[in-house]
Symmetry: C3
Subunit: 270 residues, 3 copies
């Protein structure tokens, strides 16, 4: 990884347009500032198309599912597609309700995503693989998770990112990376997945289209290693302190920190 | 208190569905994670009935009062009632506007609550007792507060919880508990009342219906003692630090901590 | 500055009604509590007029631009005007989209503001001065910034506040103050500008109308000095820690702290 996309983010401060939910909005904006990007959280359908066109990436978060928000996502997504602005989808709770089944199909039909990032249950739903959508646990077999992420990447012709104890990343060529960094404190902070999706947007904003998978791998590695650094001196119950120190760590982390700690292997599947 | 509901929450990770406002959403979700529950903050009326049915408790927070949100609360509440899922109401600013007078009446008519938790002014409004709704202060007489909470419990046939310097809890049988724990830092953190309502939901999620009052007492005691522990080494002006340490304390607190510190007496009224 | 408005806020706990966005709501409420005010974040158009009338100040934040929110702002603003309740406008991203051009014109036509607080790009837009609305930087000339703020104050007949590395404040008489306090950590915390607007509301809530400029200067000085104190022992990358310590500092700061550190001069313009 000769080019550090992290360094580019800090040099270029890309504007990342997020349409997200009331739980993640503040934390995602602060996390984007910490990584070096410029967050914009506008969600009014009357102006999102204009805003998407001046942004360097668009992040759509299905933690909000009102008809107005979905309309805003559709307009922003189409505008972003027209301008070749990368679009990231966070398919929160995909498949859990009839309404979500409907809207995710609509979004994936009408917008070409650059990356989709979700947990195992969400990605399994998108892959069409049976999965327990509650109590999702990456421990049920890495081979299967690699398979899921590969299927999502091929089905939707984009980078697919499955986050959990291990992260799995694939692109439509079938190449799969497995990243084994992070901390058990991540799932103890609400919207930590949402923020990762936003950070993926920041990395895609500064990457060439053909390097999308590499940029996403660096995004996930930077995020996970920052989590490890933030957790270093904390008790496993210091959820609140971790949330704050993680923002500090995102702002302080260097490309060298990431390279020194990341545990990344190509996953050859079955 | 032989059974610790706190331990059950951590074992069962109940899914707590919250329909809440933009101020409290993030803090409530993080607090629910800290106590050991699994938060879900979905508020779209098109899917809340489905979500309420897969949840172990539903928490309705009147910090949001838009017609869409109230419609979502009504649908979710009726679905929860049909499935015997406990419903908690946080009647924020009840009675303060004509709109709130109308919607709270509608919610209380159409949904059977398991618990209602508010401050003295809100509970006095529900009890039909005259009260200064601004600048509410529990210092104006404990006998009256016990009376208010008893009235609310009997009028709405549920557990009633009045939070303040002292907490008063009653059920429809007329039994009233007074809990004297906490810290002056609580009212200095926005949405600390909202989070308490959500935590009450988590305790009700793991309790038998006939033990609802006991579970609510444990919820309030756990919350108040965690606040005391979080405040221990802080200056009275460290509002921000308290917010973070309180999340740490909620995650770290044990049933033994609660039993060792709680100051709980049965209130015999006048 | 013989009278400390900060002291008055802590004595009177004015109720500050905010109509704001999902990014800033929690942080603004916590910051208002820290300064000693009482926050109310209600945004439903069906009740905002009633609420504005019982409040001591109203703060309108254009981080939210939905038709429902704008309707709520119009109703609340007119009710506040009718009751002589001061109104503060935070014109976030003014002029950036057609929608924002339209709504800001409507708000400024139908509501008399007491103060408008924005960054250089936003204030330049309101002044009708050409400016790069992205990547705004106060370094491009203090004379020009003083000119911008004076124009806004005269055009809208209110106090105008331009925040940045230096803050510039003017009233319609043409008097301009330049305040040179603060920390580079402010722009690293999302909604730190939104919170400043809310704090300006708290200071106006306790000030006589004829002292509005003085109260706004004290608001900005208190805010900036609290930021300096919070940043004192932090690394420049501790964005998360700064956010929390800043809340602590707002709660701890005294009028003497502000007087001892503030760097305030009258700006004579060109």
């Amino acid at each position: 990884m000769k080019t550090s996309y992290l360094t580019r983010i800090r040099e270029q401060n890309p504007l990342i347009h997020n349409i997200t939910n009331l739980v993640s909005a503040n934390f995602s904006a602060n996390g984007l500032l910490a990584i070096g990007a410029s967050p914009m959280m506008a969600d009014c359908s009357l102006e999102v198309a204009e805003l998407a066109q001046v942004s360097q990436a668009l992040v759509l978060n299905l933690g909000v599912t009102s008809p107005e928000s979905i309309e805003a996502m559709l307009r922003a997504g189409k505008a972003a597609n027209a301008m070749n602005v990368p679009v990231v989808l966070d398919p929160i709770a995909a498949g859990v309700t009839q309404h979500r089944i409907h809207i995710i199909q609509q979004l994936l039909t009408e917008i070409q995503m650059s990356a989709i990032r979700g947990n195992a249950g969400e990605m399994a739903y998108l892959a069409g693989v049976a999965w327990q959508s509650k109590g999702v646990d990456a421990g049920s077999g890495s081979a299967n998770l690699a398979d899921i992420v590969k299927k999502v990447a091929q089905k939707y012709n984009c980078v697919a990112i499955l986050s959990g104890e291990h992260d799995f990343l694939a692109d439509p060529t079938g190449k799969v990376w497995r990243l084994s960094n992070g901390t058990p404190l991540f799932p103890k902070v609400t919207a930590s997945g949402c923020l990762l999706s936003a950070v993926v947007g920041a990395f895609l904003a500064v990457a060439e289209k053909e390097n999308a998978l590499t940029a996403c791998v660096e995004a996930c590695a930077t995020y996970a290693v920052a989590g490890e650094l933030a957790a270093q001196d904390l008790l496993p119950t210091q959820y609140g302190s971790f949330m704050i120190r993680f923002l500090d760590a995102l702002a302080a982390i260097s490309p060298e920190d990431v390279l020194a700690r990341r545990v990344l292997v190509e996953d050859k599947g079955n």
